[in-house]
Amino acid sequence: MAKLVAITIIVIAIASAIPILRHTWWMAPDISTHGAPIDEQMSETMAEAGLSFLASQILLAIFIWKFSQSRAGEKIKSFPGGAKGLVIAAFLLVGTEVLALGAFGAKAWANMYFTPPAPNAMPVQVQAGQFAFYFRYPGPDGKFGPIHPDLISESNQNFYGLDTDHDPDSKDDIVTAEMGIPVNREIHLLMHSKDVGHSFFVPELRVHQDFVPGLDLSLHFTATKVGRYEIVCTQLCGLGHYNMKAYLSVMSQEDFDKWLKQQAALQ
């Protein structure tokens, strides 16, 4: 039976690797300016993890095959180098590997989080609430009007609790259910939650950030490809969590301007 175990392990290991190698289910293609280091990191890690996975499973299988009971009468052998060799190997190989991954990954992370948004980045606000995202554009005055939580009302469609009668900055704010952005323009996304925890995830954009109630968080990114993508919530927020999504439309600058005008007319 030992041989059967060994063969099964090898078959499973190889079968598991095949969809990875063939990218059968893989990340959506990157449409961001900061995503390339992430994708590279992913491939690097996949290679190292994949090799470790295959090597250790195959080694396990080989040892099970070779060293089972039928060796009665023979002496117990010690692995060459003993435990010391293995410990050193672990420290050196794994240690350098993980530290390298860590160091390079840190660069990809720093790229996103430790750089400030460009001064001409376009600000867009997103508010997450049970169970929808609403977006706000500052309008021609470039300023967001204040939010009054006591005025927030789904039933009146006043999602942001704006008081257009008393706050001049709110008058030209544009609130939409869909996020439109111009291509190749840096966006400064200002995030807050209306109620519980949510998260903002756009796989193609390589962007993922939780909303934390009580905190104002922000991200910046630039989309490089026109198209329609989905923003999904990934932080469990209640029964409608599975359905909490919005469309992200990346458009040419002209199309965006047109779109924004149309949205403004609907306010």
């Binding site: 990340m27 117990i76 794994v94 993980v98 939780d210 029964l239 599975y242």
Partner: protein, 596 residues
């Protein structure tokens, strides 16, 4: 006035005579161990059943599941599962499995039964605390199950119960009322129970060892229980006050975790100033050590079982012990990897990612020592050793996905996707379970005086090994492609193509689940009608195999505590008369093997 040497110290209690004292409120660690095992057994069947319901729903979201209406008329009108019911089932599945199965069986059940015996003691030093620890844990289980029967059902916030969803009350949705309070109460009780248990485990290991049993002569299973209880001591002691603060936010109007200006259902909430991230920090400070609490006993059990079946000790006994210890220590420094994109300072994310990557090193050392010990061994194949070998394969698979999740930049793509779910199911849902199966097959003869059926055991192994790979490998692929977790249905356009894979995984899950019935049957049948077991069926060396009977007598060793002359794993020793020398054997051994 001084006390006598330690092994005279146990609170001597005469063998119980009444039914209640013998089987219900027993002070005997062996009975308590079996009670814990029974609790875990019931819990795993419940948890598995819940996972079947979840998986059917994921594959066939709008399908009516016959009979579901009886389980919950709110949750499944017309037998079709509502979105909230899915989340409630998911939360209960996870909570039951993590706490009442994976912490209970490998640690509380086997540890209670075998730790005192393996150190050569008659019982734990605080038998009444031990008894209380089981019944308090059991009360916790009842509190959790009770949430199925209250108002709008169990909480739906996931086993992680993130605030403010968990703290604002029923305004946030079904199950967020009484369900949360019961959840938090259940977990707080569980923590108290396990703290009492850890108290006993630690003092037994340190103070109750018999003559000649130095710390280095303890078997690996004992070391793993000892190290785990040290982790439990600190981890559970943090979760318990966190749960209490959550309950207060819920029922007493405090705002520990709920910030101001929340608008739910168009109503401004009365809370102010609380910190949602605070809950996450407190929870994960517990939560990460918890997952090591779930796996380290399994590593100890698997090492112990493998050694007996390889007929040789591990390449380096001490290296394994140091590695278990390193895992325990590092486990406190890595918890922020659950919070990479949580909104905490991105510098903290980097800070947490380094120890997370470094924890790979002791894990690798452990796997390499196992592999290196297989080299040149004389491996026996039986149900116990198959599950032990399976554990190694599963731990490799689950561990390798950790490489990805340790890096914040990659976590951007993988956070809250099925990749994470695949990762933890591999290590906890499968590897830790294999540790439980290995321990069961190995120790059943000692606990019940009968052998389990080998054929059924092997069949169970094969179906489970192949089956769990079929279920959980695809989770990783889907996660990579962006399949978000905790969704009751896959609404986004880009997830539609994942649904056929979910159907496949559901079928695999149901089949694998069904094959667990083989184990259930084997366990129950062997308990009453299994072949009578010889004293030491595995020809193993540690102290549990030197008890005068199986099951051991009330005081474990029949009146006279053993004297230990040897290290725990004297197999394949040159110059001895057999291929093994028991720890209690006075036989002298001439040469030592080369050891690093």
């Amino acid at each position: 006035m001084h006390d006598m040497p330690a092994h005279a110290h146990v609170a001597h209690h005469a063998p119980p005579t009444s039914f209640i004292r013998k089987y219900i409120f027993s002070l005997d660690h062996k009975v308590i161990g079996k009670q814990y095992y029974g609790l875990a057994f019931v819990a795993v069947l419940v948890g598995m059943f819940l996972s079947w319901l979840m998986r059917i729903h994921l594959g066939w979201t709008n399908a009516a599941i016959p009979g579901l209406h009886f389980l919950s008329s709110n949750g499944a009108p017309g037998n079709i599962m509502t979105p909230e019911y899915y989340l409630q089932l998911m939360t209960m599945h996870a909570t039951i499995m993590v706490f009442f199965v994976l912490t209970t069986a490998p640690f509380a059940a086997f540890g209670n039964y075998f730790l005192p015996i393996q150190v050569g003691a008659e019982d734990m030093p605080f038998p009444r605390f031990n008894m209380m620890s089981f019944w308090i844990t059991f009360a916790g289980f009842l509190a959790l199950v009770a949430s199925f029967f209250v108002g709008d059902g169990p909480t739906l916030g996931g086993w992680t119960q993130y605030a403010p969803l968990s703290a604002v009350g029923s305004v946030a949705g079904p199950g967020e009322g009484m369900g949360v309070v019961l959840w938090a109460t259940s977990i707080a009780l569980f923590c108290v129970g396990q703290l009492l248990g850890s108290l006993n485990f630690i003092t037994t290991t340190l103070d109750m060892r018999t003559k000649g049993m130095s710390l280095w002569r303890l078997p690996l299973s004992t070391w793993s229980w000892f190290i785990t209880s040290c982790m439990g001591l600190t981890a559970f002691a943090v979760l318990m006050p966190a749960c209490i603060l959550l309950i207060l936010d819920h029922v007493a109007g405090t705002s520990f975790f709920v910030p101001s200006n929340l608008v739910i259902n168009d109503q401004l909430q009365p809370h102010s100033g609380g910190s949602t991230l605070l809950w996450q920090h407190l929870f994960w400070f517990f939560g990460h050590p918890e997952v090591y609490i779930a796996i380290v006993p399994g590593m100890g059990i698997v090492s112990h079982v493998l050694i007996a079946n390889m007929r040789r000790p591990m390449l380096s006994h001490r290296t394994l012990i140091y590695s278990f210890g390193a895992l325990a220590v590092l486990s406190y420094m890595v918890y922020g990897h659950h919070m990479f994109v949580s909104g905490m300072n991105p510098v903290s994310s980097l800070a947490f990612s380094f120890p997370t990557l470094i924890i790979t090193i002791p894990s690798t050392i452990i796997v390499l020592i196992w592999l290196g010990s297989l080299y040149g061994a004389k491996l026996r194949i039986n149900a116990a050793s198959l599950f032990a070998l399976g554990f190694i394969s599963m731990f490799i698979s689950g561990g390798v996905s950790g490489f990805f999740l340790a890096q914040p930049s990659l976590d951007i793509m993988l956070h809250a996707t099925y990749f994470v779910v695949g990762h933890f199911h591999m290590v906890m849902g499968v590897a830790a379970m294999f540790g439980i199966f290995a321990g069961t097959h190995f120790w059943f003869p000692k606990m019940f005086g009968r052998m389990m059926n080998e054929t059924l055991g092997k069949l169970h192994f094969w179906l489970t090994f192949v089956g769990t790979y079929c279920i959980f490998m695809p989770f990783h692929y889907l996660g990579m492609a962006g399949n978000v977790r905790r969704y009751q249905a896959f609404a986004p356009d880009f997830m539609q193509r994942f649904i056929p894979v979910h159907k496949f995984m559901t079928v695999a899950a149901l089949l694998t689940g069904a094959s667990q019935l083989i184990f259930v049957y084997n366990l129950i049948h062997s308990r009453f009608w299994g072949k009578p077991a010889p004293e030491n069926p595995w020809e193993a060396t540690s102290l549990e195999w030197s008890t005068p009977s199986s099951p051991p007598p009330f005081d474990n060793f029949g009146g006279e505590l053993p004297v230990v002359y040897h290290d725990p794993y004297q197999y394949g020793v040159e110059g001895s008369t057999g291929d093994y020398v028991m720890q209690t054997s006075p036989e002298r051994i001439q040469t030592a093997h080369d050891e690093a």
